[in-house]
Amino acid sequence: MMEKKHKAVALISGGLDSMLAVRVMQEQGIEVEGINFYTGFCVEGHTHAIRNQDKDKQKRNNALWVAEQLGIKLHIVDVIEEYKDVLLNPKHGYGANMNPCLDCKIFMVSKAVEWIKENHHNGFDFIITGEVIGQRPMSQRKSTMPIISEESGADDLLLRPLCAKNLPETLPEREGWVDRSKLYGFHGRNRKPQIALAKEFGLTDFASPAGGCCFLTDKSYSDKLVDLWKARNSREYEMDDIMLLKVGRHIRPSAEFKLIIARDAGESKFLEGYRKEFISIHALSHSGPMALVDGKLDEEQYELAAGIVARFGQGRMADEVELDIALPKQGNLQIKTPPLSAEQVLQEWYV
């Protein structure tokens, strides 16, 4: 009788580690499928699609690309709504910025556990990740590994092929589905062992994002998110909010409103899509960027807002720029105003 082929589901980020973890399992005859979670904060795709300067770069989704290289299926799961609770109430706190990395990992592994149960007819036996002890300061430490296994509910069904030798035996190892002696004991931030293993497997093209693949590890993004919460006096957010934080210059000249000013034609076009929901401002007498107003813009502040937008267009040196202010459901009005000088746009306004 043929022995049953065991199946694992792998958390795929699109980076090298999860790619290697899958290859290590495939070497041992394990059948693997990938799962990838979309939180809304993923760096993947978005900014490439929006900004002009990135248009020449290949707009590939790294998780899909990795899955294709590995010859595995990939299931992408939308967790935008559920992720709000992870971000707003992280039991284990935040990292250097607004990144709740440990809670995030626990959440994703728990979603994988849930997914295995929902797809039990497909016979998945265990879960793998590309985690490496000491690789990330917050979530990938020796002390956090058992916390993730336990709090996710995965317990000993969670195998980390790249650092398994530094961890207690898991069920797949004990049952002999996986040969522990052929797993790895990587640790620390040094990437050389991974690069060497990639070479051994003949993998030459892989993504190596410096700050991971999440906007929440980015200081500038986190600052904008905190500013948004503070200005609204609420930490609620919608998908559009977190998308708009990825686009344009954000300038807050007043507690009541901020301007989101496009940095190129690609961003202008993207912001145009929001003109039904937001007040928008753009120059008529000169070419210039599209800008959205987030918050409440009183009539006496029209000139200030228009003057700032004028500053970022071709009319920045002109005596006067004519701009259009479009108020959703109320119509448009035109305003002529001198552009603010560089010094008049105060540094502390930049979010």
Partner: protein
């Protein structure tokens, strides 16, 4: 065989892929799905997703800023 449409306009990748994936899960082998989208990233991501999951992109049309990607559901 049934033909369905998915409106994924204004969505940025990977959302058009996720929506297509979820709709295709409810469809049968041989059915076709027209995904209407505006993010050019979908031109790359939907075919990649289809290839690895055993589906096939059988047509791609572009009307101004709108793309229509037709996926035939695999077995």
């Amino acid at each position: 065989m049934s033909k369905q449409t998915l409106d994924a306009r204004k969505m940025l990748c990977p959302l058009p892929v996720i929506k297509a994936q979820n709709q295709i899960k409810q469809m049968s082998h041989g059915d076709e799905l027209d995904v209407i989208c505006t993010d050019p990233g979908a031109l790359h991501d939907i075919p990649a997703w289809a290839r690895i999951n055993g589906h096939e992109v059988i047509a791609t049309q572009q009307n101004n800023d709108e793309l229509i990607i037709t996926v035939r559901v695999g077995a």
